[in-house]
């Protein structure tokens, strides 16, 4: 009885602790008080109206999503190709590849960012293209480490059966291999996308002047006057994330139930 209560209490305590900062952001976005957000100055939606018109924030938002989407796509293609190609490679080659894939994970992101900056500034100018390359490099490991386990679980006999039944290698690849490793590819893409969205250090060192992502924009602007718009934006982001996670949850619960019934 006491134990159950302690557990519940701890859950609630941690929940409050984790959501307090988010609640503070949301409250501040509706607070009309300009000077100090901790003092309630009445309810207003003006921050939301200003947000839509704010070009700095909107262009940062656009850059962030373009960068994350593009980088995640390229990283997913490169990573998946590697994993498929690795299937008939020797053990030494495989472990070397997985080892290389882990370099950017072990390197702190500041070192990844700096090393790429050194490369770019030496040979070319910083641009959106270099930011894209930097993000791909930073997130590729997450794709490889998501897809590789699926490749290892793959049943080669089914692929061979498809070939024996007259399928061309490319057709068998498309109809047998790819569907089998799809969950790994999707996880890898999502993970890569999220890491790119959330990144600060790699972008900070490789970004072109005048181009900002959300993170670098906030870093440049938080001392100035557009704070309330940023709070409004975080409220919107929070709601979007909530909806996305809810959808994932509904689909996953279903899959989880089916899987358990089979067992």
């Amino acid at each position: 009885m006491v134990k159950k209560f302690t557990e519940k209490f701890y859950l609630v305590f941690m929940f409050v602790l984790l959501y307090m900062p988010i609640a503070v952001l949301i409250m501040s976005s509706f607070n009309a008080s300009e000077k100090n957000k901790a003092v309630w100055g009445g309810f207003t939606l003006s921050a939301y109206k200003a947000l839509i018109k704010d070009e700095i924030i909107m262009s940062a938002l656009y850059t962030t999503f373009l960068l994350a989407g593009g980088a995640a796509l390229i990283a997913t293609v490169l990573g998946t190709l590697l994993c498929i190609g690795m299937m008939n490679m020797g053990k030494l080659f495989k472990s070397t590849m997985i080892g290389i894939a882990q370099i950017p994970l072990l390197n702190s992101d500041i070192v990844t960012g700096i090393s790429l900056m050194l490369l770019f500034t030496r040979f070319t100018d910083l641009s959106f293209g270099t930011m894209l390359v930097a993000h791909v490099t930073y997130i590729i490991p997450y794709v490889v480490l998501s897809v590789y386990p699926k490749i290892m679980q793959l049943n080669v006999s089914i692929y061979e059966a498809a070939l024996d039944l007259g399928a061309s290698p490319l057709f068998a690849m498309r109809k047998v291999i790819i569907p089998d490793i799809m969950p790994g590819i999707l996880t890898g893409f999502m993970l890569a996308f999220t890491m790119s969205l959330d990144d600060f250090s790699v972008t900070y060192f490789t970004k072109a002047p005048g181009i900002n992502t959300m993170s670098t924009m906030i870093n440049a602007e938080y001392r100035k006057g557009i704070q309330t718009e940023i709070y409004a934006l975080s409220t919107i982001i929070f709601i979007v994330v909530l909806i996305v996670l809810f959808i994932i949850n509904r689909r996953s619960e279903k899959a989880f139930r089916i899987e358990n019934e089979r067992v």
């Binding site: 557990e7 859950l11 901790a38 490169l78 190709l81 190609g85 070192v111 996670l245 996953s252």
Partner: protein, 275 residues
């Protein structure tokens, strides 16, 4: 066995990694061991031992250690309780605790600014309850709090994954044989959750070690970590890429060494995934 795909498929990745991972690392090494004239020198790498750099390095190490301990102490019990409620990591209750991770990390840090500012939310709340104000902004405590909050899910998720996989029957068996709750946690859950704990510690400690922007936003320039020293070497008015590369290389080496030492004390556990 028939060949699946072909070796050519690995080509694009290999070329990419050589150009954008191996060569850039080579550049860091090159700059680290040369001076502005291009001559070989050890000064940049050794400069991590100078008081100017050793102090922030030691501070980073201490703070990362504290951050990792705080994250572990908070998330280990939480992971055990959560695993009792649901074994599915995409269930509502587990997701509720991971969700803050999906907010942009700069936004989360900004939120802590609002809370900790001298006339911020925390002191307003204290005022209402008749307590004395606390001035945490621009202190080490603020940076530790903010960083621990940012990296908390990276500790919780792997530990939860490991704990959720533990077979109920093993725990029941221990109980039937007379083990108390504490013994079950210490002798059964803790060792079986070890891979997750290792993952969690790595994923919190390594990024905390090189953090500089949280120290900037919550420490207000008063908390100067090794990440700040490196950033300054590249971006301040006194930019010196040779010194910056030297410091980065030393930091990288120290992280790798501490990971090796840590793996050495914790052998027998292999193949822990990040998630």
């Amino acid at each position: 066995m028939k060949k699946i795909g072909s070796k050519i498929l690995t080509g694009p990745y290999i070329i990419w990694m050589i150009i954008f991972t191996v060569i850039p690392l080579g550049l860091i090494v090159y700059y680290a061991f040369t001076n502005s004239g291009g001559a070989f020198t050890l000064d940049n790498v050794v400069s991590i031992a100078d008081t100017v750099n050793a102090k922030p390095l030691w501070l980073s190490f201490k703070m990362s250690f504290e951050i990792t301990v705080i994250c572990f102490l908070l998330s280990f019990p939480l992971a055990i309780i959560l695993s009792k409620y649901s074994k599915n990591k995409n269930s509502i209750i587990v997701m509720a605790f991971i969700l803050p991770m999906w907010m942009n990390f700069m936004l989360r840090t900004l939120a802590w600014r609002l809370i900790l500012l001298n006339n911020g939310f925390l002191n307003r709340a204290f005022e209402i309850f008749g307590l004395n104000s606390v001035y945490l902004m621009n202190t080490k405590a603020a940076v530790i709090l903010g960083t621990a909050y940012d990296y908390f899910p990276f500790m919780l998720l792997p530990i939860y994954n490991a704990v959720a996989k533990i077979d109920e029957d093993v725990i029941s068996a221990a109980r039937d044989l007379g083990a108390s709750g504490v013994v079950v946690i210490r002798r059964i859950i803790f060792p079986l959750a070890m891979p997750g704990i290792i993952s969690g510690i790595t994923m919190v400690f390594v990024p905390s070690m090189s953090e500089f922007v949280i120290a900037d936003m919550l420490g207000g320039g008063k908390v100067y970590m090794i990440g700040n020293a490196i950033e300054q070497a590249f971006n301040s008015g006194y930019a010196d890429i040779h010194l910056g590369s030297g410091l980065s290389l030393s930091l990288m080496g120290l992280i790798v060494i501490s990971m090796l030492i840590y793996k050495f004390f914790d052998k027998g556990e292999e193949g822990h995934g990040i998630w």
